[in-house]
């Protein structure tokens, strides 16, 4: 129990440090905003500095809470004790990466057909072929819905071009 408690507090420390780092990155980005010769009562830098400073402040606040034992052990969802399912998360992240790799060269029907079975596998499905079939149909109908019915051109890939012709 104590070890679990310590682990949760360490995780909270990580979250607090992330917020702090985000705040500091924002401070840096606010400092590089070019000052402008244009007249303005409040320049473009004031609000970014304000918000970056606020993020640093809440980051320090979270850090203090984390060092005092953290807050994770009080979250209801964390208390039922189910372990984190890292293989499932890995499959899902793989699905995201595959999509990013395929979408530019081949369009999203191909990308979705590769992504869908990986995501489904993360949630326990092993029917690879059937899942790929579903993905193909779903992605293609979504394309048809956007382009043909709503008139929003979302960019044709290899498969979309073959079936519907290339849109301009």
């Amino acid at each position: 129990m104590d070890r679990q408690h310590g682990g949760a507090a360490r995780a909270d420390l990580g979250a607090a440090l992330f917020v702090l780092a985000l705040g500091l990155a924002a401070v840096w980005q606010a400092s590089v905003i070019p000052t402008t010769p244009l007249y303005a009562q409040v320049g473009p830098k004031a609000v970014p500095y304000l918000i970056a400073g606020a993020l640093v402040a809440v980051g320090i606040g979270l850090l203090v809470v984390a060092l005092r034992g953290g807050w994770s052990h009080g979250i209801e969802e964390m208390q039922d004790g189910a372990p984190f399912n890292l293989p499932a998360l890995g499959l899902l992240l793989a699905g995201l990466l595959v999509n990013m790799a395929l979408i530019v060269p081949f369009g999203f029907t191909v990308a979705a057909t590769a992504q869908f079975p990986l995501v489904a596998a993360a949630f326990g499905s092993r029917a690879w072929l059937r899942d790929m079939g579903i993905a193909f149909v779903v992605a293609l109908s979504a394309y048809a819905l956007f382009v043909k019915l709503l008139g929003v051109n979302i960019g044709a890939g290899v498969v979309e071009g073959l079936i519907f012709g290339v849109q301009d």
């Binding site: 905003i33 809440v58 869908f116």
Partner: protein
């Protein structure tokens, strides 16, 4: 324009075939996504935002509001039949609703939820129609300084008052405000917080952030916590309510609507608080002979009250959204950004400058309510079937749609990387219990607040005391401070008294 004149005008526009069609489509879609666990109205409306390029403003908003109301109806079906709330406002409904379903009374539970939603939705929409013009009258007196303070109040209440921790709520808010700053500063033309990446000069897309938070983050978190196993959908049975069911539901509906609407109107937003309040109220007020049903076989009062409160609060949220341009829920914030993509300035001028649009919208809300009762009661079997979509394919589908919706806007891989990156942050936000709604609200309301602030300071010629020397803005700021500090002081006081 008075409410009656407005409604007459509104119905004359809303009852055209096209607009009825948009309402029906919205209601249908809204119920479906409300039923499906894992997707809510905020995500759906975000994914539908591209239609603002090709559909008239009136049509699009009727569709969005149909989705918004429909999701409330659909959410109750899931919480009753699956014991997993479809959306946050239905958490309380599942307490008694799922117990009724386990004891073979799913039908009456669904019926009282749907009819209660109708009663509350109608009461709430009447509230919008009659309260709206009054709020607008008052709001027209406000200058940029007061507006800025009102937005600060809104920020404080949505992030620090509700939810578990003010510190984490504020962290979410500042993260959202930071996202809102990315891009070219409209007043001076300088790029801000772009890390020198040209794709970020136009700012971070609202759709992208909403999809990342509500679809990608949620799916990642669920996979991370995934346990193999199947959920059981309970059978619906007959949806007919007995005479005693009607009698026991009637006052809870009315009381629920009465509790919910004011909560929605206040800039605190959220449906959790009024549903909870209504639940405890019904538990206290229940007749002694039914009291033992609470927590055992399921009491119908505990479904009727909170469900009505949920819908009335959802309707109430539209009051500050339409009259002040202040979104107090993530869904309202995304609807607000839809106004912007039509070039419509939200705020008190909306009721006069866009009278047709506003009143048609309000009339459509009445129509949507009627459609939703019809869609939800006789068709409840269809919605129960949707619940049988297996989890793996459901979440894979959500993620595929999320990707299509985001990539489709810009065809840019940078956007896709942002989508997944913010999605991963959102997963950790779920894990560490940071609320996501303040991110969306901060991101959309933030730039408007900055603009109001700079306007106010231009008027006062750079004098920052303008916010505390004007009586109205000072009082609003004091309320914000009280909302932020009050609960903590009270807590400390209670602890000291106990010690």
């Amino acid at each position: 324009m008075t409410a009656i004149e407005g409604l007459t005008l509104g119905f004359s526009h809303a009852l055209t075939l096209t607009n009825l069609g948009w309402a029906l489509l919205g209601c249908f879609l809204g119920t479906a996504i409300g039923v499906l666990p894992g997707i809510g109205p905020a995500l759906t409306i975000a994914l539908l935002l591209p239609i603002t390029f090709s559909v008239s403003a009136t049509g699009a908003f009727i569709l969005f509001c149909g989705v918004f109301y429909g999701a409330m109806y659909g959410g109750s079906t899931t919480s009753i039949l699956l014991n997993t709330p479809g959306e946050s406002g239905s958490i309380i409904t599942s307490l008694e609703g799922s117990k009724m379903a386990k004891n073979g009374r799913a039908g009456p539970a669904l019926a009282t939820a749907a009819i209660g939603s109708f009663v509350a939705g109608t009461v709430g929409t009447l509230g919008i129609a009659f309260l709206g013009p009054i709020v607008v009258e008052l709001a027209l007196q406000l200058g940029p300084a007061e507006y800025f303070c009102l937005m600060i109040l809104c920020f404080v209440t949505v992030s620090a008052v509700l939810g578990g921790s003010a510190l984490r709520g504020l962290t979410s808010l500042f993260f959202g405000l930071l996202l809102g700053l990315v891009g070219i500063d409209l007043q001076t033309g300088q790029p801000r917080l772009t890390f020198g990446i040209p794709e970020l000069y136009d700012g971070v897309n609202v759709v992208l952030v909403a999809v990342a938070l509500f679809a990608v983050g949620e799916t990642l978190f669920l996979a991370w916590r995934h346990v193999e196993g199947k959920q059981e959908v309970l059978p619906v049975g007959s949806i007919l309510m007995s005479k005693s069911d009607w009698k026991r539901s009637f006052w809870p509906w009315i009381r629920g609507a009465g509790v919910g609407f004011p909560f929605g109107v206040l800039p605190a937003g959220g449906t959790e608080m009024p549903t909870m309040l209504s639940y405890y109220m019904e538990r206290k007020l229940v007749r002694p002979e039914h009291a033992k049903e609470f927590g055992t076989v399921g009491a119908i009062e505990g479904v009727a009250g909170p469900e009505a409160a949920n819908n009335a609060a959802a309707a109430g949220v539209l009051v500050p959204m339409l009259t002040l341009g202040l979104p107090t829920s993530a869904t309202a914030a995304i609807m607000l950004s839809a106004f912007q993509s039509y070039g419509i300035q939200p705020g008190p001028m909306l009721f006069t400058a866009q009278a047709d649009l506003v009143w048609t919208l309000i009339a459509s809300l009445f129509i949507a309510n009627v459609m939703l009762v019809v869609l939800n009661l006789p068709l409840v079997g269809l919605w129960a079937k949707i619940l049988k979509i297996p989890q793996p394919q459901l979440y894979a589908g959500i993620l595929v749609f999320a990707t299509i919706g985001t990539y489709g806007i810009s065809n840019s891989v940078v956007d896709l990387m942002l989508l997944y990156g913010i999605g991963i942050i959102a997963m950790f936000m779920r894990r560490f219990d940071f609320p996501v709604a303040p991110v969306v609200i901060g991101m959309i309301l933030g730039p408007m607040a900055e603009q109001a602030m700079r306007q106010a300071l231009t008027i006062s010629q750079g004098d920052w005391t303008t916010f505390i020397t004007r009586p109205i803005s000072l009082s609003i700021l004091l309320i914000a401070v009280a909302a932020l500090v009050g609960p903590r002081l009270y807590g400390a006081w209670v602890r000291r008294m106990a010690a």
